[in-house]
């Protein structure tokens, strides 16, 4: 009898939990109805996970102002955005608006992207992505790579005002590093060891700073280019060697922790770190000193690349073109993109709340963080070397992790890097474009 009672109690508890689940489903449905009654409901995939909170707040305000219900989804950090998007398409439930990397636009555009040419914002940017005569990608922001400096930390040691343009060449940079070491900052440099930093940010500069990046990469794929003898490769590797020499994590460089490196830079324990304006979201978590900024990678060169950052449009948005999205939803999505560019509230969201460098010439961006401000200054002065978006998909893991990490740890030399990268390109799959 007792057993029976216990069993009954369990059944009751389990059924109650089922009812509870049903109840919550009902709640979701009723909130869906509310959205329908105010108009249209759209979904957004946000793959810039660091601005998810801002996105969610914006969605509420946007709904209150425009009557369009906006649901913002945060991209999973433990899988690739492209595979997440593919899952949604496989279940015939795509996001109305999807934010991906430039690379993904090329693979997704033909199948899923709505043609955005003719939209009002299109005339305010040169950074949109066109695939097969279709304007498929809306540039969400501008991001660039270079050396991040902490001017306060430098000035504290040298006692002089720091002018980043005074260290354009490697010789100048070397002299400054020696001065910092002599002044007591024994290890003034931090290098992020993550494969994406080495393989998607640092090494691609070798291609991006060539006279014709596309021809050069095709030459590598065809096996006709001599990487070891290439001037640009050697100039950039000279600089990298200098960075390695002064790296605070020398000895276990390939194991350096991103958070720790950013913290050291923020607090002025180190003066320089290779990175981009996205690193601000990590740096600002710490007790940072005021005068940070970005400068081009110092190189002993005459081609002018040491006066420019490398970057451009980053994080692209496409609007779903499939039948799973209704005409009303699509129109709401297009309105949302125009709101970002042409509405004061949209501008504030981009530049002040998310602290992003806008990709549009009609958006005022005076209230940016120090790194983004540097990027904007270089962008406004037309001093950005464009990103190269057609590197083979496994470039980042093979070149970044298997080759450059070894070089960072001084386990192989420059000639071996050139040989291994050349060998890699022999078997790499080219990206059609």
């Amino acid at each position: 009898m007792k057993k029976k009672l216990v069993s009954l109690a369990m059944v009751a508890a389990m059924s109650a939990s089922l009812v509870a689940c049903g109840g919550s489903d009902g709640g979701a449905a009723s909130s869906g109805e509310k959205a329908e009654s105010t108009g249209v409901s759209i979904t957004i995939l946000n793959s810039k996970t660091e601005i998810q909170t801002q996105f969610e707040e914006m969605a509420e305000e946007y709904e209150a102002a425009k009557g369009v219900h906006v649901e913002v989804y945060n991209a999973d950090t433990d899988t690739t955005v492209a595979s997440q998007v593919a899952t949604k398409y496989a279940s015939n439930d795509p996001y109305t608006i999807t934010m991906v990397d430039a690379k993904d636009i090329y693979s997704l555009a033909d199948d899923y992207a709505y043609d955005l040419s003719g939209q009002d914002w299109a005339s305010h940017t040169t950074l949109g992505i066109t695939v097969n005569n279709k304007l498929a990608g809306f540039p969400f922001c501008v991001e660039a790579r270079g050396i991040i400096y902490n001017a306060d930390a430098i000035e504290k040691v040298t006692g002089e005002a720091f002018d980043p343009s005074s260290v354009a060449t490697l010789d100048d940079f070397q002299a400054l590093l020696d001065k910092l070491v002599a002044g007591g900052m024994e290890q003034p440099v931090g290098i992020l060891s993550e494969y994406w930093s080495l393989g998607a940010h640092w090494f691609p500069m070798v291609y991006e700073e060539q006279a014709d990046p596309d021809a050069y990469v095709n030459g590598l794929l065809a096996g006709t280019e001599d990487l070891a003898g290439n001037q640009k490769y050697n100039e950039l590797m000279d600089t990298f060697e200098t960075l390695v020499k002064y790296n605070y994590a020398k000895g276990s460089a390939s194991n350096a922790d991103r958070e720790e490196t950013s913290m050291k830079l923020a607090q002025g324990d180190i003066a320089f770190m290779f990175g981009g304006n996205w690193d601000w979201s990590v740096i600002n978590q710490y007790d940072y000193t005021e005068h940070l900024g970005m400068m081009p990678v110092p190189q002993n060169t005459t081609d002018g690349s040491n006066g420019k950052l490398v970057g451009g449009g980053s994080k692209y948005i496409f609007v779903d073109s499939s039948d799973a999205t209704s005409e009303e939803q699509r129109q709401a999505a297009l309105d949302f993109l125009n709101w970002l560019v042409n509405d004061a509230e949209g501008n504030t969201f981009l530049t002040e709340k998310c602290a992003l460098v806008p990709a549009f010439d009609n958006i005022d961006a005076s209230a940016l963080d120090p790194l983004s401000l540097s990027v904007k200054n270089y962008a406004d002065a037309n001093n950005l070397i464009p990103n190269y978006n057609y590197l083979p998909d496994d470039h980042m893991t093979v070149v970044g992790q298997e080759i450059m990490q070894k070089y960072l740890d001084e386990a192989i030399d420059r000639a071996e890097v050139a040989k291994e990268v050349t060998d890699y390109f022999k078997t790499a799959t080219p990206i059609a474009h």
Partner: protein
């Protein structure tokens, strides 16, 4: 409808449908995808025959990672079971507070692999490095920064994670050995060690078969700890087979090849698991 079929549908119908939906159909669909050059995203899935298998066999990185997985699994399986057996013996030998110890040893299993990896990463990179630094008063290198060190770290964490779970199975094994037999052995003059070797272990074969099977399959398929603890660093030297397969499919966007490599991994795993269970079962002793 025959009576037998009715009975079957009544008792196992729902489970069969669910099993087919979540295991059989995805498996067959996965098998189909190994014959396409799908990139994981686009709508078209061009049929390419056995190209993906040819690519998988030619992928040197895959075989290197598989070789690494064999070494990792061999060492981890032995250590997990040795440690699990020893602690199981300890917590069944009647020491004070043995239930508390049982619970304590089991706790690591309750922590998810990803979290556990990050926690241990901190231990290896920070706690142990500063401890070693203060002892040797010099710059110590993290275990995770060297190629063999990273694999060793993976093994240490796996042993820490799995030993408690396997301990439970061994505890059940120890409990199932009849007191009478041990008693009889004692009367016959058996020492403690002798009675473990000659009485307990042969009677616990079922536990060994189970534990070995579980650890072998878990070690071969490990991904979460690998991702959060080392992410393949340094230089991709600690990327185990599952991580290589994942990167091939989703990072390098060679979904077909990745799927083919996953299938090969499955077959290898099934063969090893099958042989181990077959051999183990044959050796089982009835009391």
């Amino acid at each position: 409808m025959s009576y037998k079929l009715k009975q079957y549908l009544l008792f196992a119908g729902v489970s069969t449908v669910i099993f087919a939906c979540v295991v059989i159909i995805p498996f067959i669909y996965g098998l189909y995808l190994t014959f396409t050059s799908w990139d994981g995203v686009s709508r078209s899935k061009p049929f390419v025959g056995i190209t993906n298998y040819v690519n998988a066999f030619a992928d040197a990185g895959y075989w290197t990672s598989l070789g690494r997985t064999f070494i990792y699994s061999a060492i981890a399986v032995i250590l997990v079971n040795a440690v699990a057996f020893i602690i199981a013996y300890m917590v069944t030998s009647g020491i004070k507070g043995q239930n508390f110890f049982r619970a304590g040893f089991f706790v690591p299993n309750l922590i998810g692999g990803i979290v556990l990896g990050y926690v241990w990463k901190f231990v290896f990179n920070k706690a142990l490095v500063s401890l070693a630094g203060s002892i040797s008063s010099g710059q110590a290198k993290s275990l995770l920064a060297t190629e063999t060190g990273a694999i060793a770290a993976l093994i240490i964490v796996s042993v820490w994670q799995y030993a408690g779970y396997m301990m439970l199975i061994y505890v059940a094994g120890f409990m199932s050995v009849s007191e009478d037999v041990i008693e009889a052995a004692k009367i016959d003059g058996c020492t403690g060690t002798q009675s473990i070797i000659h009485i307990s272990i042969p009677l616990m074969t079922a536990s060994f078969v189970q534990c070995l099977f579980l650890t072998i399959t878990r070690c071969f398929m490990v991904y979460d700890v690998n991702l959060s603890l080392t992410n393949g660093d340094p230089y991709g030297s600690s990327a185990l087979a599952a991580m290589h397969v994942y990167n091939q499919a989703f990072v390098n966007k060679n979904y077909g090849t990745g799927q083919a490599e996953a299938l090969i991994l499955f077959v290898i795993c099934a063969i090893i698991g099958g042989i181990q269970v077959y051999v183990g079962k044959k050796g089982e002793v009835q009391a």
